[in-house]
């Protein structure tokens, strides 16, 4: 079972430092500073937001059963994911693709009346625009999309390619539901969306790496609005104010938030953007001491580091240093 294997994989680095709920937030893609930090700190960025519809109840039950060894699962290899890079684009890309394929398939057969596979107004609008603009080239679109998809699916495991194609609705053929796909491919229903997400992440990655090879699929990718790596918008506001020279307490007062929340934002941005803001809050030498301590004691637990260093640094400083350590790893 894939979900079980993913949970077991994520539990390892987190060890006893964070609750299993943090894994839920990670998979579900909760946009909080804490979850983003967890993803970076424990090297799990690829799993961030890969299962937005995961039910909490189901997760809790499964995680508990796994950790108490109540159930044995055969380990399933984890397919390609890059949640941190693609989770915000996955849904739009997937539904644009499904609706576009449905439209092209029906249009090729002169069928105008069909129920669209998605209700999302923005996706419908996007496909409609494309239809208006490319009306005379739809046949060309059909064969080029076919070529691009075929090439990508060939490189995926057969089952994953099958799961993707069987979901497509087109002319006189309706796609299968997750429950039907699970029966057909002998999977657990909960694993079906995971494989589908993996396929989309793979598509997005290939399209990004080889733009010239996938000009048609490339147009389906929604351009991210701002280049800040998945920084939460509230953290973004904090940054603007910091850049204008406001102090922590001034920002907190102005935004009606607690100082701790503002500190969360700063730590989050440090994880994602590195040193830029950090120097105002922790010197390089101090950061080095803390990183060193974390490495020697082999923990990321704030409380333990705080105690080992005899309370010399407060929790905020320790979190900043740990966030910076992430940057160093990337640099080397």
């Amino acid at each position: 079972m894939l979900l079980a294997s993913i949970i077991l994989h994520a539990v390892q680095p987190i060890r006893n430092e964070r609750s299993t709920a943090s894994i839920y937030h990670l998979l579900q893609g909760k946009r909080s500073a804490q979850t983003l930090q967890d993803a970076h700190m424990y090297g799990l960025t690829n799993l961030f937001g890969i299962y937005p519809k995961l039910s909490r109840e189901l997760f809790d039950q499964l995680a508990q059963d796994l950790l108490e060894n109540k159930i044995q699962v055969t380990e399933t290899p984890i397919p390609y994911f890059d949640g941190m890079a693609y989770q915000s684009q996955t849904d739009t890309f997937l539904y644009r693709l499904l609706l576009l394929l449905q439209m092209l398939s029906n249009q090729a057969n002169g069928e105008k009346h069909y129920i669209p596979v998605t209700d999302q107004a923005q996706v419908q609008y996007w496909v409609k625009q494309l239809y208006r603009q490319k009306q005379l080239q739809l046949g060309h679109w059909r064969s080029c999309l076919y070529e691009e998809l075929y090439g990508l699916l060939e490189k995926l495991p057969e089952m994953q390619a099958g799961l993707f194609v069987d979901r497509i609705s087109g002319y006189q053929h309706i796609g299968l539901t997750a429950a039907q796909l699970a029966v057909k491919y002998n999977l657990q229903v909960v694993d079906v969306p995971l494989y589908q997400t993996s396929t989309i992440h793979y598509f997005l990655d290939q399209v990004r790496a080889n733009k010239s090879l996938f000009p048609y699929l490339g147009t389906l990718v929604e351009q991210p609005k701002q280049q800040s790596h998945t920084i939460t918008s509230t953290a973004h506001k904090t940054r603007m104010m910091l850049e204008r020279g406001l102090t922590l307490d001034q920002i907190a007062a102005a935004r009606g938030l607690t100082e701790n929340t503002i500190k969360d934002h700063i730590v989050e941005m440090t994880w994602l953007e590195g040193r830029r803001l950090a120097s105002r809050f922790i010197g390089e030498a101090d950061a080095a001491v803390i990183m060193d301590c974390a490495e020697k004691t082999g923990t990321n637990k704030l409380k333990q580091i705080h105690a080992t260093l005899n309370g010399k640094y407060d929790y905020f400083q320790i979190r900043m240093a740990l966030a910076l350590r992430n940057e160093q790893e990337v640099e080397t």
Partner: protein, 506 residues
């Protein structure tokens, strides 16, 4: 007018001919008369209000209690190219609701749930429209003697008055003469032109088979499915059973494409399954009563009741999904004596317990005494008293009727509260009794040894027409010589490569 209507039918639906009753009801509606239409399932009731919406100016408002049916119809209409249609119900999020409410005039056809009509803002917006027709769909819900009773429906008369009495069209698939009178009365004693059509379908044969236990039931069902290989719907009273029997069929008959369908599934999935059945990708659907409304598939040959519904009306409606193309079709009921426990249990769950009502009134009394006369929200009530939301709405309506609640304020008067408790006890008792009588009639039909047609339709129409083919087991008919006309079920393509090529016509 007839030719206008016929041309419109051709233009919007591509049909040459009206089905039974449609033309008569349309003619009455187009002359702005209040109309009551009782049309058996499968005759296309929606045409009776969709055509006026296409043909005339002004809005058509359709009140319907079936939210998913509403959604389906809106989708189907949009797929046909008719975009000036919307549905207002609790499925919508706040923004979409606002969006629709603000632009009411830009729709020709508007589906509304009865709860939404409780909203004063919506009513005030509706008052600004030119409503050409106010449709009460599933109108039997207004009568407590109907198969399904909705207290929200009781307020419709008031809504019609507030909207300055537009022409009303009340539609239902099943209504005894008793219920017909109730509909007319509770919609404000409207003078209505009545169009009542018989419910008996001559091309459906009825068979009932007793089995000892579930295992025998499954075996009998599988044998039947092997014999009659044709589009089939199997009804269950529980979602779990529908799912597990669907799995059983898949294992035993891998060549017969089979899926389950129930109200607990996501909307997106429900539409996919429905469409697969229509497209012929699925041969068998295992479902609860949630399936069928608005599914216009002509060649369903076999309806199996793995569990029976609580009343004959529901049964007739479910069986009526077979043989819409006029060809001979079959209803088979499988029952074991233990089955009768389930509906009795469901009936008891449906209505509030006397102790809960007393507890509720005590709670409200304490609030009044503490000076809190605001009517508490349902969520708040639920924290203290175990009571379902439909039960709460039922009681709320009764409290308003007895002047215990006025404009969201509680009004205490010892005598009225005492009277209320007594009357509500009687009302709940009556309703329970009525439901058990309905169940009893269903049961009698199962155990009868005379013609099943005669007994099934006895309460609904004076004369029952003879069957066009087989009649029923009690008349000596069997399925032994049923000839299977093999239907081609769309088989899965060999693999994804071929499938992708087919989809994109490469």
């Amino acid at each position: 007018m007839k030719t206008d209507l016929q041309q419109a039918l051709k233009k919007y639906y591509g049909y040459d001919q009206f089905r039974t009753g449609q033309l008569e009801i349309l003619e009455s509606v187009m002359q702005n008369r209040h109309t009551l239409g009782v049309l058996p399932t499968g005759t296309g009731k929606s045409v009776c209000y969709q055509l006026p919406a296409f043909m005339r100016s002004g809005q058509v408002i359709v009140v319907s209690p079936l939210l998913s049916l509403m959604e389906d119809q809106v989708k189907q209409l949009r797929a046909k190219g008719f975009k000036r249609v919307a549905a207002l119900n609790s499925f919508l999020n706040y923004e979409d609701k606002q969006q629709v409410t603000r632009n009411l005039a830009s729709y020709d056809l508007l589906y509304v749930s009865p709860e939404m009509l409780q909203n004063d803002y919506l009513i005030s917006r509706l008052m600004q429209l030119e409503i050409q027709l106010f449709v009460v769909d599933e109108a039997h819900c207004i009568s407590q003697w109907g198969k399904e009773f909705r207290t929200d429906y009781l307020r419709l008369a008031e809504v019609v008055r507030t909207l300055r009495n537009p022409p009303v069209l009340a539609l239902t698939g099943t209504a005894t003469p008793e219920v017909q009178t109730d509909i007319q009365h509770l919609l404000g004693d409207l003078e209505m032109e009545k169009h009542i059509y018989p419910m008996d379908r001559q091309n459906i044969a009825y068979f009932v088979q007793e089995v000892q236990d579930q295992q025998e039931k499954n075996e009998t069902m599988l044998a039947l499915l092997r014999k009659i290989q044709a589009p089939t719907i199997i009804y269950f009273s529980s979602r779990n059973m529908a799912e597990s029997v669907a799995a059983l069929i898949r294992i035993n008959m891998p060549d017969m494409a089979c899926a389950y369908y129930h109200g607990g599934m996501e909307n997106e999935d429900r539409i996919l399954i429905q469409q697969q059945f229509l497209a012929g990708q699925l041969q068998i659907i295992c479902c609860t009563s949630a399936f069928g409304m608005g599914v216009d598939k002509e060649d369903v040959r076999l309806i199996i009741h793995y569990h029976l519904p609580n009343d004959k009306e529901s049964f007739i409606q479910e069986v009526g999904r077979a043989g819409r193309d006029g060809k001979e079709s079959v209803s088979v009921v499988l029952y074991s004596t233990g089955d009768w426990q389930i509906p009795v249990h469901l009936i008891e769950q449906d209505l509030p317990e006397q102790s809960s009502i007393q507890q509720l009134m005590r709670n409200l009394y304490q609030r009044v005494k503490a000076g809190m006369t605001d009517l508490p929200a349902y969520e708040l009530i639920l924290q203290h008293i175990p009571i379902g939301e439909t039960q709460w709405r039922f009681l709320l309506y009764q409290m308003e009727k007895h002047d215990i609640v006025k404009g969201n304020q509680l009004q205490y008067n010892a005598q009225t509260w005492k009277d209320f408790l007594e009357q509500i006890e009687k009302l709940v008792g009556d309703r329970k009794k009525h439901k058990l009588v309905q169940l009893q009639r269903m049961k009698e039909w199962v155990y009868t040894d005379t013609c099943r047609r005669q007994i099934l339709f006895a309460h609904f129409q004076r004369t029952v027409r003879p069957a066009s083919g087989r009649c029923c087991d009690n008349c000596g008919d069997t399925l032994q010589d049923w000839e299977t006309v093999p239907v081609s079920v769309q088989q899965d393509a060999a693999g994804w490569r071929e499938q992708l090529r087919f989809l994109l016509q490469q």
